[in-house]
């Protein structure tokens, strides 16, 4: 096992790093959830028409959907 002073200084260093990191995280600029949520919603709605998996794409346009009447797998 390591000697007493070495392990105490290493846990001190770890604690110092933890405090430093927490200070950084605490100082982050935040916005309200209502605003953030509104922006997420706006993005979804604006891009919905371009989303093939959401809108469904006619078989002729989608390379993965063969233009057949039934799919066997």
């Amino acid at each position: 096992m390591s000697n007493n002073s070495a392990s105490s200084s290493s846990s001190l260093v770890i604690a110092q790093k933890a405090v430093k990191q927490l200070r950084l995280e605490a100082s982050v600029r935040r916005i309200k959830v209502s605003q953030a949520a509104a922006d997420l919603k706006t993005f979804c709605i604006q891009n919905a028409h371009k989303d093939p998996l959401l809108m469904g794409v006619p078989s002729s346009d989608n390379p993965f959907r063969p233009p057949k009447s039934c799919v066997l797998f």
Binding site: S7, L12, L22, R23, V33, A37, L54
Partner: protein, 401 residues
């Protein structure tokens, strides 16, 4: 003030930070520390906090007090801005209709569990890796295999396609990430051209090229992430902060800058600045290992999938979790997640062999897809959003549309 009972606080700190020897010492000295600490009960003034450097004389007890103080302050600040739930904001939007998504292609050829896959930017090629050490490049339209490489190790847990489409990267139990240039000559031995780029001290869990073929970002069981130069193999930046294995990573969409998110066995999702190596935000709300993280298409949020059977959405500007995607009937872990192009749908591959499709805004499940005969281990939506691919422990990959 929001101080929890002193003994609980002390135990929590000791559990997080100390080795067994120093824990015993902290407990013995704990009573003395508590008496002096009770004098100051207010938050440090912001100016004080900025100028107060960390002195060598700071004892474990004053540091732990500040640590708890900061954590409480963080939660308080986050809670102040929590004025509404995401699904409430989404109430007025039309609900999604029934989805008909089926397996359109099945890629067979791996001899063992498929562990990872990635799409090429050309929207038709796919690279996949398996427990048997094989890495295969497929043409997803025709299901033909274009290239196959046998790695010197088993459990190839990570693979990625280069942006140019001219190379693939992979690694796993060999603790390395290697890059293989893909040649047009199908007969050429790819293994001969292999380039070892990354070296970790434990298994490679995930890898991704950055915007070019020149740099690779990796995450590892050794608890770190790292950025490497492909040409020289040089370590450009390392990212320390996870307390356990890092299992996944995802780069922010290029418009939003140089950050990436990682998830680990310490239940934390960390957002990192790629240039400085600094962890800029950290989220710890999952109750178990985070297996997969993926940015929302706008770059303002990211989703995570975890062994606690939930997927969650975290907004980066609100700095908090804003949605949980879960059901009582879902009890198996989510292994991988990805968004549809608009971010409205979240696809989750689970260990109960199914894929659940979630309405990101309203929070409900819109579809459940069956087909795989074992755990779904990896899932990615194609670059143009027309389909998504899932890989499974049943040795196959499936393309769904």
């Amino acid at each position: 003030m929001l101080f929890s009972p002193w003994c609980a606080l002390e135990e929590q700190f000791i559990a997080n930070v100390s080795s067994p020897a120093s824990a015993a010492r902290a407990r013995r000295s704990g009573r003395v520390g508590l008496a002096t600490a009770s004098r100051s009960t207010s938050d440090p003034h912001p100016a004080e906090m900025a100028t107060h450097e960390l002195h060598p004389n700071d004892t474990l007890t004053t540091l732990k007090m500040e640590s708890e103080n900061l954590k409480a302050k963080l939660e308080e600040e986050r809670a102040k801005l929590h004025d509404v739930e995401l699904h409430q904001v989404a109430e007025k939007i039309e609900a999604l209709g029934q989805f008909v998504m089926k397996t359109r292609r099945t890629l067979k050829g791996h001899g063992n569990k498929v562990l990872c896959m990635d799409w090429c930017k050309d929207k038709r090629r796919i690279v996949s890796s398996s427990q048997d050490g094989k890495v295969i490049v497929w043409d997803a339209f025709t299901t033909n295999k274009e290239h196959a490489v046998t790695m010197p190790c088993t459990w190839v847990m990570a693979c990625a396609y280069a942006p140019s489409g001219c190379a693939v990267a992979c690694g796993g139990l060999d603790n390395k990430c290697s890059v293989y240039p893909l040649s047009l000559d199908k007969n050429e031995n790819l293994a001969a051209k292999k380039k070892s780029v990354a070296m970790h001290t434990n298994y490679l869990s995930a890898c991704s090229f950055t915007n070019s073929d020149m740099q690779i970002l990796t995450s590892s069981g050794d608890g770190t992430c790292a950025l490497w130069d492909v040409e020289s193999g040089q370590l450009l930046q390392s990212f320390h902060g996870h307390g356990a294995d890092v299992l996944c990573l995802d780069l922010a969409p290029s418009e939003t800058g140089n950050t990436f998110v990682s998830g680990g066995c310490d239940k934390k999702a960390n957002v990192w600045d790629m240039r400085s190596g600094q962890c800029i935000q950290s989220f710890e709300t999952h109750e178990s290992d985070i297996n997969s993280v993926r940015y929302y298409p706008s770059g303002d949020a990211f989703a995570s999938g975890s062994d606690d059977a939930t997927c969650r959405l975290y907004d980066l500007r609100a700095d908090r979790e804003v949605a949980i995607y879960s059901k009582e009937s879902i009890i198996f872990g989510a292994s991988s997640v990805d968004f549809s192009l608009s971010g409205r749908l979240l696809f989750g591959g689970y260990n109960d062999y199914t894929i659940n499709v979630w309405d990101v805004l309203k929070g409900n499940r819109v579809s459940i897809l069956f087909g795989h005969e074992n755990r779904v281990s990896t899932l990615r939506v194609s670059p143009d959003g027309t389909a998504f691919c899932s890989g499974s422990w049943d040795h196959t990959l499936r393309i769904w549309a």
